[in-house]
């Protein structure tokens, strides 16, 4: 069939809907074509992000066909040339009303006590497309309710209308069919498998898309009503995917997060950690007032007194040891504006370049910023994706969803990982390697080296190489996802691996997969040694920036690990911790512990009491998620807006204010009095962020954020406009009366603002952005010592960090620590699974139950990071971060 084309040359089909001529794209579903033409068809089972199934029958319309007009579900019918559709004929209306009446006969109509009441697609469509009253006078179906089908999901079977959205989400999107429809007829119910709770990292999405109140969360159940809610659209800052969300509050407290359908990012999904992590905002362990250590105890003091104490300590440190005696760690959870303010304070006021948002738990900053970036969409549309990461489902869950879908759609994934990950079943090839060998593996993969990496299967490597050869010479269509596969394997070796691929495939693009929410933004803002805001080096950017910032440090300072080491060595006397807890965050616990103990003075700037705050001399409380505006930058380099919905507790301040007030105590001014002013300064002075100001991000077209640096074309959103919020697909957003900012903010911009931005940009300067070249001679890992196991330290989603520990919905989900080995090791050790063994490294030893993971190569022991409170000894106690890899010995207890 030859396609008809419209004037723009796109293939189109013509149909009539209720007598009006409509153009549609071939293959488009009738329900979507009608909606674009302004004819809304009622629906329940249909969800734009799920495969249509045509089950609920709510969208029945009359459609012309060989047998005259027949009733067809619009969600299952692709448009066809000449199709005639009647959506509002007597027959279509009667069918729709009939279905709605059927749906309600067993529905309890307990709207007054139902969480969904007021934001319910069933309620709304009963009004808009229902018969008005029911003729059903029989006894309704009764069931015990609610029942807990998983730890975060309650099911009210009486309210369920059996649309299968939840079961289809679980199977299609999450890839975990942990729930399904059980039984039949009107006894059909959503059920987990016997004895296996619905405990998915993505379970909350089923609640979000439920078109009735059948699925509810213990976290939100009975907490609020739609008319009591206020909301803002913001960005989730749980991990670096940066999912778009609405944060909803009631009576000044955050009560619910819902995923927004941001096409390039989360496509409406969230992980449960992102969905429920906001609970930590209202934790009893929030820092509410500045404290200063007096004697053995911390005493609440005024901001004035605390800042004076902090400034005095910093001044003292500078006087004794020069500016280099001050080290600043952390900041990866700050907003860009906060990070910029602290970078400015550090580099232009305090004069230290020993600043690092990473605590040796990521990758060298130059690699993160200096490799050509890929977007998630580019990864999802690549021909080949190579992963040099840990388990993405554990670290960046929604990125995992996107890559899983991409793999199902034909993207070939080469996974380089020591242990199998959630992505392994979708990978074309998995290359299991011995920790420390990743650079060698990458070299072998691209054919740069003959040396065979230890532990890698020959056949798998050959097959993966064949796939790589299918790429064109430059590697167009190759995306490398590069993160930190193991905390016991140095970031330098991973960066070297990425670089080896780049050398072989100069057109390859890289998607950094670091986990901390705004680590990419913090590095972009200059919270890293040798870097200035906007992805430029200290040398390259010095001249351009010093006009605005004043004098800058003479030479690059120390990175996270070196700062800790220098503190141990008494070269740094005073540490500022920007929301980090080195005891928990640094992969090398012994180094962190020694540094904190050795430091003369520690200033903690953060949101919660932690092990580190307890060891600090001054504690300064700042605003956290949901309490601050500004912007954040995700793993793609996508800058999107953060919005405040609730007030910080007590007298906590925004973090940038703290930097500004400290600057004043050094006779300096950072030069801004509000977040928007900082945004403007970033847009003016940070080369990679040039033009990215409040006006640009506030425009409705940029609700999904913009990827920096803005290309020659001001903002390329690929002809794609952000999706309007669909009240049936994601109930609970449009039903809130107070839509808040920035939804409003966008609308308030003068028309055409996006186009007007370009001329206003400052002229491009000649400051080159940083590019990555690894330092020479990063020592490769030695062969493992005799009888030793090579250590892998993996991350898990529910690790015992502040966010999880302080969120009641998540706190109980932290797994118990164990050491995982290949089954062969059990035989060697002559122990049974579950029995306790001693795991000993050169640093320390732990006693842990032993467990099996047959995806591990023999000779590897795997531990999960951060499963114990930071005061306790976990996996990081074993790691020596100064070595490319760590060996451990296992002994029977």
């Amino acid at each position: 069939m030859s396609a008809v084309r419209n004037r723009a040359g796109d293939a189109v089909v013509h149909l009539t809907i209720d007598g009006t001529a409509v153009e549609a794209t071939p293959g488009e579903l009738l329900i979507d074509a009608a909606e674009r033409a302004g004819v809304f068809l009622p629906r329940f089972c249909y969800h734009p992000r799920l495969d249509p199934v045509g089950m609920c029958r709510m969208c029945l319309v009359e459609v012309s066909g060989p047998r005259g007009f027949t009733l067809q579900p619009a969600c299952m019918l692709s448009v066809a040339e000449g199709l005639e559709v009647r959506t509002a004929s007597d027959k279509a209306r009667k069918a729709q009303q009939g279905v709605l009446e059927f749906l309600l006969i067993n529905h309890p109509l307990d709207c007054p006590v139902c969480d969904k009441g007021g934001e319910c697609p069933l309620q709304d469509q009963a009004f808009s497309h229902g018969p008005g009253e029911s003729r059903f006078t029989e006894e309704k179906r009764h069931w015990a309710k609610p029942i807990e089908i998983g730890p975060r999901v309650l099911l009210d079977r009486e309210r369920c209308i059996q649309c299968g959205r939840c079961t289809r989400f679980a199977a299609e999107v999450a890839g975990e069919a942990m729930i399904d429809l059980a039984f039949r007829s009107d006894g059909i119910e959503v059920a987990p498998f016997p004895g296996k709770p619905f405990d998915s990292y993505f379970s909350g999405n089923t609640i979000q898309i439920c078109p009735v109140g059948a699925l509810t969360s213990p976290a939100y159940r009975f907490k609020s009503r739609p008319w009591d809610l206020e909301q803002v659209e913001t960005t989730c800052t749980t991990c670096a995917v940066g999912c778009r969300v609405v944060a909803q509050s009631s009576a000044g407290r955050l009560v619910r997060y819902l995923g927004v359908d941001s096409d390039p990012v989360n496509q409406s999904w969230l992980c449960d950690k992102g969905r429920y992590g906001f609970e930590a905002v209202h934790s009893a362990h929030r820092l509410t007032t500045p404290t200063v250590e007096k004697g053995e105890v911390h005493q609440p003091v005024t901001w004035h007194e605390a800042l004076d104490a902090a400034a005095a300590a910093l001044r003292d440190a500078r006087e004794r040891g020069g500016p280099d005696a001050v080290g600043i760690l952390g900041g990866a959870r700050l907003s860009n504006e906060d990070a910029y303010a602290w970078a400015k304070l550090a580099k232009s006021v305090l004069g230290t370049d020993s600043v690092d948002a990473q605590l040796d738990d990521g990758l060298p900053a130059a690699a993160v910023l200096g490799l050509p970036h890929a977007t998630i969409d580019q990864a999802a549309a690549a021909s080949v994706v190579v992963t040099l990461t840990g388990d993405l489902r554990e670290e960046l869950p929604v990125l995992f969803l996107r890559l899983r879908r991409a793999a199902l759609d034909g993207v070939r994934i080469v996974e380089c990982s020591t242990a199998a990950t959630a992505l392994t079943p979708y990978a074309a090839h998995r290359l299991a390697y011995l920790p420390g060998e990743i650079a060698r593996l990458a070299g072998a993969l691209v054919g740069a080296t003959r040396a065979h990496p230890t532990g890698v299967d020959d056949e798998a490597l050959a097959a993966a190489r064949t796939l790589m050869h299918s790429l064109d010479g430059g590697g167009e269509g190759l995306v490398v996802v590069v993160g930190r596969p193991s905390l016991a394997e140095s970031g330098e070796t991973v960066a070297e691996a990425a670089h080896a691929i780049w050398r072989a495939y100069p057109n390859a693009r890289f998607l950094p997969a670091l986990r901390r929410a705004n680590v990419h933004g913090a590095l972009d803002m200059g919270l890293a040694p040798g870097l200035l805001p906007g992805r430029v080096t200290l040398e390259a950017g010095r001249d351009a920036l010093s006009a605005a910032w004043g004098e800058l440090p003479a030479k690059p300072g120390r990175d996270g690990r070196a700062i800790l080491q220098a503190t141990v060595d008494n070269e740094i006397s005073t540490l500022i911790l920007l929301g980090c807890d080195p005891l928990g965050d640094c992969p090398d616990r012994e180094l962190a512990r020694a540094a904190i103990e050795q430091a003369r003075f520690v200033i903690f700037v953060g949101t919660h009491h932690t092990g580190a705050s307890a060891l600090s001399q001054v504690v300064l409380p700042v605003a956290g998620d949901g309490e601050r505006g500004g912007t954040t930058t995700n793993c793609e380099g996508r800058v999107s807006r953060l919005a405040a919905k609730v007030l910080p507790p007590g007298i906590a301040w925004p973090a940038w204010t703290v930097a500004g007030e400290l600057a004043k105590r050094f006779g300096a001014s950072l030069g801004f009095e509000g977040v928007d002013q900082i945004s403007s300064e970033i847009a003016r002075l940070a080369p990679a962020y040039r033009g990215v100001d409040t006006a640009l991000l506030g425009h409705p077209e940029h609700r999904d954020g913009v990827v920096v640096p803005l290309a020659a074309v001001p903002v390329d959103i690929g002809g794609r406009r952000p999706r309007p919020i669909d009240p049936i697909a994601t109930p609970g957003i449009l039903s809130v009366e107070d839509q808040g900012s920035p939804l409003e903010l966008g609308a308030a911009q003068p028309a055409g603002a996006a186009g007007d931005v370009a001329p206003g940009w400052p002229p491009a300067t000649a400051v080159p952005l940083v590019t990555f070249s690894p330092p020479d001679g990063a020592a490769p890992a030695d062969e493992p010592a005799a009888g030793a196991y090579r250590l892998v330290v993996r991350r898990t989603l529910y690790e015992r960090g502040t966010l999880v520990a302080e969120s009641p919905s998540l706190a109980q989900l932290v797994p118990e620590p164990a050491v995982f080995v290949h089954p062969a090791a059990l035989k060697e050790l002559r122990v049974a699974p579950g029995s306790t063994v001693t795991v000993r490294s050169a640093r320390d030893s732990l006693q842990l139950p032993i467990a099996l993971d047959d995806s591990l190569p023999a000779g590897v022991a795997l531990l999960v990071a951060n499963l114990v409170p930071s005061e306790g000894r976990g996996a990081s106690a074993l790691v020596d971060a100064s070595r490319p890899a760590t060996d451990v010995w296992l002994e029977k207890v």
């Binding site: 029958r57 709510m58 009667k94 009939g98 059927f102 029989e138 039949r184 007829s185 009107d186």
Partner: protein, 443 residues
């Protein structure tokens, strides 16, 4: 009248050991397969086309045409539908238990014609004896060389898998059957696009034929399509196996020449139904399974002919004829049938899932004396929401025809016996209570 037509699918059934290979071979078994394998597959299909063998599962679609609609593909599957589960339908049950080799031979002939190398016989799980005999027959057939590699020394190979159903009526619907075969929940697939001939088992083109359809193939190959087409009249050729039940003197199975035999013959001929039980009067009959609209005594002269029954506003369907006499309660009959459909709804589509039970509740209420006069219009309107227009053939608001089958009996009962409903409601009891059989009324 009883015609001289041969018994085509039940020829062996008078023998006690009809299910054994020994008896099968002694009565000409597997000769047709030998013959078919010497023919070209297209010639086999042409023979079936000439026979104009209408599908015996209920829809009555010509088997040869069904085969010709297969999408060309590397892999094609044959599925034999033996999931006979409807009340009053017991013809396939008979053939499975009493002549399994005939099914296997027919399946091999069909598979050869359509190029399938793997066939599945989906057999109702409750047919314990049938499954045992079918499985044993398969083993015998392998042993005999009628199944497996290079059948009878030809280049044709076929494996047959006997798959017991798990107790759902809906799996007799061909696309639900395929889902179930694939190990999934028996939800019917949406057509279009999932016509089995295009997107069938595991996405491959698939022929799904009823047990009786398949059983007729050996005779057609042996005797020629023309011989089959010479029986019956018009499009209704050959013989059909009828399952007669209800209030007749001689309920049972009867293989009769189509078209030339009438419902009067079937119900009243002394050699067949033998008249109404206990010398009663005919009130109504269901001509083709419980999803078919009912007919009254004035329709007795209609032949057992697919088109003729269609013209009368019903269908020959699965060939199950149920007889109601003057002591049978129409409300109760409609309720019992509706209860069956409600319980067997897969639950996928809203109208069937919810509407079936609603109708059942109203009908039960009326039968138990708690009816209201407003229920009569309500029943019809709920039926209308399941099958708009409540006409024949029904329009659908659901994915498969189970939903639109529910109104048949409800609307028939209401249209033919409205006064009987009124009596139930007015007297607050079933007027047939106390009659000594299942079809009488009462609580």
């Amino acid at each position: 009248m009883l015609t001289s037509a041969p018994r085509i699918v039940t020829s062996r059934l008078d023998h006690e050991d009809s299910y054994t290979l020994e008896r099968y071979l002694a009565t000409g078994g597997y000769k047709a397969l030998h013959k078919a394998l010497r023919m070209k597959p297209e010639a086999v299909a042409a023979e079936v086309n000439r026979a104009n063998l209408l599908g015996r599962g209920g829809a009555g679609f010509p088997a040869g045409r069904k085969w010709s609609m297969l999408r060309a593909a590397e892999t094609t599957y044959l599925v034999v539908n033996g999931d006979e589960s409807e009340p009053a339908t017991f013809k396939d049950h008979l053939l499975i238990e009493r002549d399994p080799h005939q099914i296997i031979e027919g399946a091999a002939i069909a598979a050869y014609a359509v190029g399938a190398r793997l066939a599945f016989i989906f057999c109702r799980g409750e047919f314990a004896l049938g499954l045992e005999r079918l499985t044993a027959a398969c083993n015998e057939a392998y042993e005999h060389g009628a199944l497996g590699g290079r059948i009878f020394g030809s280049t044709f190979s076929l494996d047959i898998v006997v798959h017991p159903g798990a107790g759902a009526y809906i799996c007799g619907e061909e696309t639900a059957l395929l889902e179930s075969l694939e190990g999934k929940r028996g939800f019917p697939r949406i057509k279009p696009p999932n016509f089995p001939a295009a997107i069938g088992l595991y996405g491959e083109p698939t022929v799904v034929n009823n047990v009786e359809t398949i059983s007729a193939l050996p005779w057609i190959i042996q005797n020629g399509g023309d011989a089959f087409a010479a029986l019956g009249a018009g499009t209704s050729t050959g013989t059909r196996l009828f399952a007669l039940s209800g209030r007749v003197a001689r309920p049972g199975w009867y293989e009769l020449e189509m078209s030339k035999t009438t419902f009067r013959d079937l119900i009243f001929d002394p050699a067949l139904g033998g008249g109404i039980a206990d010398g009663g009067e005919l009130k109504a009959f269901i001509p083709g399974g419980v999803s078919a609209p009912w007919l009254g005594p004035d329709s007795l002269e209609i032949g057992l002919d697919q088109e003729a029954v269609g013209r009368a506003g019903s269908m020959l369907g699965s060939g199950s004829v149920v007889v109601l006499d003057q002591t049978s309660c129409a409300v109760r009959a409609a309720w019992r049938i509706t209860r069956f459909f409600w319980r067997e709804s897969c639950g996928q589509c809203t109208p069937c899932r919810e509407g079936g039970h609603w109708l059942e509740k109203i009908l039960r209420r009326i039968e138990e004396g708690d009816g209201r006069f407003s229920d009569l219009d309500l029943l019809m309107d709920v039926c209308d929401n399941l099958a708009p227009g409540v006409s024949w053939p029904p329009e659908q608001t659901t994915i498969c025809v189970l939903g639109s089958s529910i109104p048949s009996s409800v609307a028939s009962a209401l249209r033919m016996f409205r006064e009987e409903f009124a009596t139930h409601i007015r007297t607050e009891e079933c007027p047939f209570a106390g009659a000594p059989h299942e079809m009488a009324g009462g609580r």
